[in-house]
């Protein structure tokens, strides 16, 4: 719960400070407002997403013309973590993962037809690679054209731990192809991400970075113990290219010294060659890396034995005695011990258990397969190098190795957030049947949904809470079988209708998901909103789109009060646009249909006024009868209509209305006279004798019509 601090009554220091049970120092969010002190009340509530709405109210006595007495400000609470990844980057990741996620779901639905073309894990791998590419590039592809010989270690942009976590999940769950050479995959992984651990503990990476900085100033590197330490460390974790590069910086390679230090140089070169020829149990290596790759175990075994024999042979060589440079001799010997897999050497040159773990894979147990044996080795390494500070990636690795799906899920969700867990579940379910069962089992304690759905719903909620990502939430919601559609409806109803573009986008989402009833409801909400704000045309449009005849009839009643009721009223012209909008589809216009008929009648009547033939007058009379007969014609129009039609009723040549028509009009007139007695009747603005003259005209017409018959 956030609390407000008000210290010493100074208003400029007003700020929101979140309380938390953790020992972390509280974060302060300053409030920007223009109110003068003192403030009487402050109220805080949640606004959209992770922002707070703070209402600042002043006491009544300071309210004046210039002073409204209060202000509402929004405070955006930034990432609690402090943010390895900024909000904008998170959004970019969210946008980018929509397409791969949607594609994977559709492939999942079409699994029966796809089965024979590709294994399922291959689809998951495609998905995983797409996602991984969103999380940043681990290797910088551009290398300088003239390489600095002293730059042994390329400094690249620090990768995110999110990417590291994703790659771990990929190695262990999705990539079935690399199952036989997981140790080598882990080695590559550590080479990319060892720098992430440097913040909290000493690492080989940190050691090399420091040494790299010193390297520029050192004259004869071989005299520096740091040089040998750095090389053994890099060798232990398998960064062979770095070691070979460093070895070639040895002073004995200098042309002026080559003669006097021939044997020394020979030894250095021998070690460098041995390192670069190290057998590796993996299908391939990138060009700048060293080692000889073997795909099958027997081939590798043969090469490995041969390689070890060469090292032993070199170790026992007589040349060591002739090497006078003491540091070189002991340094190289130490490196040979690392290569021979001397456990104590490995332990001294590495810094944390993961590095030790990798060195064991490389030099002691290259054939380790299966999570069980990997886990026991990990336990051994952790025993030798206890974890000094908890790192979120360590937690994840241990969870994976001990095959504990719950721990993996918990670590993913706690350390890397809802995006990670939602997408990583796809890898987990592909990789282990136990995990799949756990994730897809319906849990009664969370309302009968499964854990997979729960995480997707949570992620969708987070997307929904942001104005820029709400429209990708439907992709995730529609993949949730049980609660998804309900929440999607909720989300759509919550969108602000006053933003015309947002409304159109929401309606499009409804169309794509077959939620016609939701889109009709939204159109109704929009119609009422615009009606309230005086945008009558927009209101009519949306209500017509929603086919909401009830509301159209209701607003029609209000609208008719403003329509000019006399033929001479010029203001009727402004209704033309609205009548055009109503269109010809009579079924959706509701009571507003009257407007269109009224316009047509006015037109024909205008022609009659201009004095044209009996035929047009006859048509006008027919239109009048149709209007008067129509129940949707509002009562307040009856008398003005008849009054405007006096010329028709008194047509000289012959009566235009027959007996029954005249009777109908007389009845309407009678009804009107009764209605006038009722309270609340609004009389049309007509001359007082209007009713009389209409009645007289009708009576005359009736007489003439009877005679005609």
């Amino acid at each position: 719960m956030p609390g407000v601090t008000l210290d010493s009554g100074e208003i400029n220091s007003l700020a929101v400070v979140p309380h938390s049970s953790d020992a972390q120092s509280p974060r302060v969010y300053p409030l920007r407002h223009r109110l003068a002190p003192p403030l009487a009340r402050i109220s805080i509530s949640w606004a959209r997403g992770n922002s707070l709405r703070v209402s600042l109210l002043q006491s009544d006595d300071v309210v004046s013309e210039q002073n409204h007495g209060g202000e509402v400000v929004e405070v955006k609470l930034s990432n609690v973590e402090g943010g390895e990844i900024s909000d904008a980057q998170w959004r970019r990741i969210a946008y980018g993962s929509v397409t791969p996620f949607a594609l994977l779901q559709s492939q999942k639905n079409a699994i029966d037809t796809l089965r024979y073309e590709k294994d399922w894990w291959e689809h998951v791998m495609d998905f995983s690679k797409e996602i991984n590419s969103l999380l940043g590039n681990s290797k910088s592809s551009v290398s300088p054209t003239i390489e600095d010989p002293k730059s042994v270690f390329k400094e690249v942009e620090q990768p995110s731990s999110l990417k590291a976590a994703w790659e771990l999940m990929e190695i262990f769950y999705a990539d079935k192809e690399s199952q036989t050479w997981i140790p080598e995959r882990l080695l590559d992984w550590l080479a990319d991400f060892d720098c992430l651990f440097s913040g909290t503990q000493p690492t080989v990476h940190a050691k090399l970075v420091t040494f790299q900085k010193e390297l520029v100033t050192i004259q004869a590197v071989e005299n520096d113990p740091e040089y040998w330490e750095a090389m053994s460390a890099a060798l232990a974790v398998g960064w062979l290219d770095v070691v070979v590069k460093l070895l070639r910086l040895h002073g004995s390679y200098l042309l002026d010294q080559l003669g006097s230090r021939e044997i020394e140089n020979g030894l250095v070169e021998a070690v460098a060659v041995l390192i670069s020829q190290m057998p590796r149990l993996r299908p391939d290596l990138s060009a700048e890396k060293f080692g000889v790759c073997y795909k099958t175990k027997p081939e590798f075994m043969k090469a490995w034995e041969k390689w070890r024999a060469q090292i032993t042979k070199l170790d026992c060589s007589a040349f060591w005695l002739q090497c006078d440079h003491q540091q070189t001799r002991s340094g190289l010997k130490n490196m040979l011990q690392v290569m021979l897999g001397n456990a104590s050497s490995l332990s001294t040159v590495t810094y944390h258990w993961l590095e030790l773990y990798i060195s064991h894979f490389l030099y002691i147990r290259p054939f380790t397969v299966g999570l069980e044996s990997m886990y026991s080795l990990a336990q051994k390494c952790m025993h030798l190098k206890p974890i000094s500070s908890h790192h979120k990636l360590m937690g994840l690795i241990i969870g994976i190795l001990e095959e504990n799906t719950e721990v993996v899920l918990a670590e993913c969700s706690r350390s890397f957030g809802p995006w990670m867990i939602t997408h990583a579940i796809e890898l987990l379910t592909a990789g282990s049947t136990q995990a799949e069962m756990l994730l897809h089992e319906q849990q009664s304690k969370i309302g009968g949904i499964c854990i997979e759905e729960l995480h997707r719903l949570t992620y969708a909620q987070i997307l929904s809470s942001h104005a820029l990502t709400w429209n990708i939430a439907p992709i995730y919601l529609t993949s949730c079988m049980k609660q998804g559609l309900g929440l999607l409806e909720n989300l759509l109803y919550k969108q602000p209708v006053q933003h015309h573009q947002v409304l159109v986008k929401s309606i499009e989402i409804c169309r794509l998901n077959g939620l016609d009833f939701v889109s009709y409801d939204m159109m109704k909400i929009a119609g009422v909103h615009y009606w309230k704000h005086g945008k009558k045309g927009l209101a009519v449009f949306w209500l017509q789109q929603a086919r909401d005849e009830v509301r159209l009839n209701r607003i029609a009643k209000h609208l008719f009060d403003f329509v000019g009721k006399s033929l001479s009223d010029e203001s009727f012209k402004q209704w033309e646009g609205m009548i055009e909008l109503l269109g010809t589809e009579s079924n959706t216009a509701g009571g507003l249909e009257f407007l269109k008929k009224y316009r047509d009648f006015r037109r024909s009547l205008q022609q009659v006024q201009e004095g044209i033939t009996t035929d047009t007058a006859f048509k006008a009379a027919e239109a009048l009868i149709a209007l008067m007969r129509n129940p949707s014609t509002p009562q307040q129009f009856w008398l003005p209509l008849l009054h405007d039609s006096l010329k028709l009723l008194n047509w000289q040549e012959r009566p235009l209305l027959n007996v029954s028509h005249t009777n109908l009009l007389l009845n309407k007139l009678q009804e009107l006279s009764l209605a006038r007695l009722r309270p609340g009747f609004v009389d049309a603005e007509l001359p007082p004798e209007a009713l009389k003259s209409v009645r007289l005209a009708l009576a005359t017409n009736l007489g003439r019509a009877i005679l005609e018959d």
Partner: protein, 357 residues
């Protein structure tokens, strides 16, 4: 991020950190550097702003470098640019905003600055958002329309003064506007409605059009209109359900439907099913069938849509798809001086720049 080698159109996607409300090419100063104008909305800080950026075209990695930025009082709904006749390096920019005003800026492309000139006072101008504006050819007058049903003319000569052309009192709402000649303009709105206005004749519009071809189904909204300078009697409109139609003022009751989804009498090969957000005549796509300028065929037009399509539509031809995105394409602009280049803004906070061969 080019597509495949067989597709000779170069497409470059450039992610931004903000939502792009509108975008325009600015007039060229030289062949090597070009400038673009973005109306952006930063959701982290809730600030709308106007930015000029330098675009350096290059085969592999074109870059956008921010040049100048100025914050706007509220989100920009419509953006128009007019080259300044005397100082080509200082184009005039008109921006309509959500809070009901139109703001005028001048961009100084050489010194890299963006200067606020003046704005129309919000009071009495439009109530609610201004939905569309258009600058006339010489940049001396700006017509504005809004949801409130007002049509205003801002004369750029007297700073900030405006004249009310029409006020429908909310009975009709407008979504877009386009000049047809120095005295005529066309407005688009709801119910696929188009109105033709002539300043020489007072009062309301001189011609009304209402599209009702959807055969009893729901009607739609015109989101964008365009008029070709060589055929001022024809108005091209794009809107809901992928509808594109041409309305010739000389035969006002017979619109020509070029594209549409779900309508009865439209070509079957519709490119787009959802809303078309913007439409512009595409001078770059040359039509082999239109040889004489008096031909009544409608010239090719480019559209962008809610379902992520940027394409070219031509009467009687198969539509051409230039870009298909998983998210909406909200606006685009064809470079007037170099019409092979097109840029569009994507819903997912990025812009795409296409250069056609």
């Amino acid at each position: 991020m080019a597509l495949t080698t067989s597709n000779p159109i170069q497409i470059h996607k450039l992610p931004q950190h903000t939502y792009i409300d509108a975008l325009r090419w600015l007039p060229h100063l030289s062949t090597f550097t070009r400038h673009i104008l973005l109306a952006t909305y930063d959701s982290d800080t809730s600030t709308p702003s106007l930015q000029t950026l330098t675009f350096s075209p290059s085969q592999n990695t074109p870059t956008l470098t921010p040049q100048a930025s100025i914050s706007a009082p509220s989100r920009i709904t419509s953006l128009k640019v007019s080259p300044s006749p005397f100082t080509p390096s200082k184009p005039l920019i008109a921006a309509a905003i959500f809070s009901g005003s139109v703001l005028f800026y001048s961009a100084d492309l050489i010194n890299g600055s963006l200067n606020f000139e003046y704005s129309v006072p919000e009071e009495g101008f439009h109530s609610g958002p201004v939905s569309g504006i258009d600058l006339n050819e010489n940049g001396s007058e700006c017509v504005s329309v809004g949801e409130d049903g007002k049509v205003n003319l801002v004369s750029l000569g007297d700073k900030g003064g405006f004249r009310r052309v029409f006020d429908s009192n909310g009975l009709v709402s407008y979504s877009s506007v386009k000049w047809a000649s120095p005295v005529e303009f066309v407005t688009g709105g709801f119910g696929f409605g188009l109105h033709w206005w002539d300043q020489r004749k007072g009062g309301g519009p001189v011609a009304l059009f209402k599209g009702n071809w959807t055969g009893g189904n729901a009607s739609g909204i015109v989101h964008s209109i365009d008029i070709h300078p060589s055929r001022k009697h024809t108005c091209l409109a794009g809107g809901s359900s992928g509808t594109v139609f041409a309305w010739d003022i000389r035969s006002p009751k017979q619109p020509l439907i070029l594209s549409g989804f779900g309508a009865n009498d439209v070509p079957a090969n519709s490119l787009v099913e959802s809303d078309i957000w913007e439409i512009q005549y595409d001078n770059y796509t040359h039509s082999s069938k239109i040889s004489n300028p008096t031909s009544s065929r409608v010239l090719p037009a480019m559209i962008c849509s809610e379902d992520g399509i940027l394409g070219v539509i031509e009467q009687g031809e198969e539509p051409i798809e230039l870009l298909a995105e998983p998210c909406a394409i909200n606006s685009f602009d064809i470079d007037r001086q170099n019409p092979s280049d097109v840029m569009c803004s994507l819903e997912w906070e990025s812009i795409a720049i296409l250069s056609r061969p």
